[in-house]
Amino acid sequence: MDVPDLKIYPKALVCEESNIKGDVIVSAGCVIHPHCNINAENGSIIFGENCIVEEYATISNKNKSPGNYEILYIGCNNVFEVGCTVEALKIGDKNVFEAKSIVSNEVEISNGCIIGAGCRLEGKQTLLENTVIYGNDCLQREALEKQGSQILQIDYLRKLLPNYHHLRKSNYDPKKIRSAV
């Protein structure tokens, strides 16, 4: 499957079985698992560094209405766990979307937020920094403690995934382009 607009930076890990549509930029250090859906047909999606997108995660850009960001910016160190559905307007850094969580359009996510497993986030809102959403009733609380980094997990995946999956080659190197110019 060839995606013409997919830009993979060096050191990013994108599995071939991943389902990517539209204009997507995957920055260095990202790990994109097989069978995740990234839909950028309505507008491009830019992943920051060291993001993890797990299996059956669905990330789509639905920022179509005028006045909104046309591009879905996803910051650094975000984790999209198994089966989550994210259609947010904008995503900051160090967020975790736990398994089967749903974030609908019109939601803006700042930094250090955690959307708990199975939680739904709907309606126009901006999540403040370090918000944790948990439980059946999607209660909110503020995490005072900083969350641990995902570097260990990324390093592990970086070792493990190439053993079992075909990877897409990185096709975009900013350094090379600069040198060519």
């Binding site: 708990g116 918000t131 944790v132 948990y134 439980g135 209660l139 609380r141 503020e142 403690e145 969350q147």
Partner: protein
């Protein structure tokens, strides 16, 4: 057991008259009666922590207020907290280098110090959030938080414990006086008519047996007349709901009831119990779990679903109309390994029901008095006293049938359960030669029946249509109470079944 969580439309009446789905009923093998939770004596067998599965004896449990010593619940979302370990590298201080010369030679060496903190995996709360310092050991001596009214509660508790002791002593005194009078014949030990305490009293010494209790006094609480005014900022400042605890969080810490989230402290985990259930009438165990907390098995398990044929409502002709004959299909299944003969009969009339209630009451009274007389001596001497049987008063069945069911003309046989038959595809169903007309189909231990009923003429739209019948079934008791009768006995048992067929449509 598909109807374990959802409300079942088929309900069985317990001998006390309370309706329950079959999955919540028990069957006493000795009385041969269905029993509900109210007709059974609940006894706590084992106290254990559901997280560490440690068996905790009752005395220790009482001491710890029925809480586990080592496990904690999250104060934020009430999940179990898990202990996380972190290792921090601490540079060796110069002072520590002196004892070992060899180490001192290598100044670059750093100490890895392991420390532990509590974290909730559900809501990401951690003990660091509220400033509880990390512990050095995994079992860590987590700080026990003191609450404001601790001493007050302690004094009230002491006071009431004293009151209880005093009451007990007074009662004993009363009993002693009464029993002395009641004796017609002098006992051997009391030949002189004097006992130790009487002699002591005559001499003028204080009674030895009853040490005077020091009366603890508590200052009674007073209602306040005046309160402080609410601070001004209450009205002017914007409330940050993230810092305010929810009602559930406050109830999780009843002693504190903190207002802000920075006062949420980990709560010791509540213990769980395993119950054994005992029939109130014959005092035999109906349910007895295995003692080991990790085991989910039973030593005695007399659930009604293993002994009483279950009834399902398969389909019902819709729409239901008042006064019009309707047809429904019921399915019966036999859980036992013996064939059953089933007869569907009318429900007992109200008078008969009253009679049954009276019988039940009488049997209880008889049982109770015999119990008292047989064990009165044992009871008075031993500190162990059995939980007095508070019997549930038998009552009329609360559900009234609102339809007239046409009874089946004859009884039929329900085949026994055969677990291996399910895997044997070729096995033909034993064809019953003259199958009754009302039987739709048979499959292994199940029978589908056609029943006809007429909803009452006075029902209006929205009313429930309830049919009821008495199901008589033969039950083969494999464990005989009497040793002389070795062969299994056959009994004809009845149970009252009520089925909610649905509502009359608008």
């Amino acid at each position: 057991m598909a109807n374990f969580m959802v409300e079942s439309c088929v309900k069985f009446a317990c001998s006390c008259g309370i309706l329950n789905p079959l999955s919540k009923l028990y069957f006493c093998r000795h009385c041969l009666k269905i029993r509900c939770g109210f007709c059974l004596c609940h006894e706590v067998d084992v106290r254990f922590c559901s997280n560490c599965l440690e068996n905790i004896p009752s005395s220790e449990a009482r001491l710890n207020k029925s809480r586990c010593n080592s496990c904690f619940d999250c104060p934020c979302c009430h999940h179990t907290l898990s202990i996380r370990a972190t290792s921090a590298q601490v540079a060796r201080k110069s002072g520590e280098e002196t004892p070992k010369e060899g180490d001192a030679a290598d100044p670059s060496k750093v100490l890895t110090k392991k420390s532990y903190y509590l974290a909730c995996l559900a809501c990401r709360w951690s003990s660091r959030d509220v400033g509880i310092p990390d512990q050095i050991s995994a079992k860590g001596a987590w700080p026990e938080n003191e609450y404001v009214y601790q001493s007050r509660f302690q004094s009230i508790l002491e006071y009431y414990q004293n009151v209880v002791i005093q009451n007990k002593q007074e009662k004993q005194e009363m009993m002693r006086r009464k029993t002395l009078k009641a004796h017609k014949f002098p006992s051997l030990t009391d030949r002189t008519g004097l006992n130790v305490s009487m002699i002591r009293r005559q001499i003028g010494w204080p009674d030895k047996n009853t040490p005077k209790i020091t009366k603890a006094t508590v200052t009674p609480s007073k209602a306040l007349e005046k309160f402080d005014e609410l601070p001004e900022k209450m009205f002017t400042e914007k409330l940050n709901l993230r810092n305010v605890t929810t009602i559930e969080q406050r109830h999780g810490q009843p002693a504190h009831q903190p207002f802000t989230v920075n006062k949420l402290y980990p709560q010791r985990k509540n213990l769980c119990i395993k119950r054994s259930l005992r029939c109130r009438q014959c005092e035999h165990n109906v349910i007895k779990p295995e003692y080991h907390p990790g085991s989910i098995k039973y030593r005695i398990q007399l659930f009604a679903a293993y002994h009483v044929p279950d009834v399902w409502l398969v389909s019902c002709e819709k729409p239901l109309k008042a006064g019009v004959l309707c047809q429904a299909v019921l399915k019966l299944s036999n859980p036992t390994i013996h064939d059953m003969t089933i007869t569907i009969m009318d429900l007992p009339t109200q008078d008969e029901e009253y009679e049954m209630m009276e019988d039940l009451k009488k049997s209880f009274e008889k049982n109770f008095t015999s119990l008292i007389t047989s064990s009165s001596t044992a009871l008075s001497t031993s500190s162990f006293s059995r939980q007095t049987s508070i019997t549930e008063d038998p009552r009329l069945v609360s559900k009234k049938t609102t339809a007239d069911m046409k009874m089946l003309e004859s009884s039929f046989i329900l085949n026994h359960r055969d677990d291996s038959a399910e895997f044997d595809e070729l096995a033909e169903n034993p064809t019953v030669k003259d199958e009754h007309k009302f039987i739709v189909s048979r499959k292994s231990n199940k029978v589908s029946l056609k029943v006809n009923f007429t909803p009452n003429g006075d029902l209006v739209a929205g009313d429930e249509v309830i049919i009821g019948f008495t199901m008589q079934y033969t039950y083969i008791n494999t464990v005989s109470n009497t040793p002389d009768k070795k062969e299994p006995q056959q009994h004809a048992l009845t149970s009252r079944v009520y089925i909610n067929m649905g509502r009359i449509p608008e």
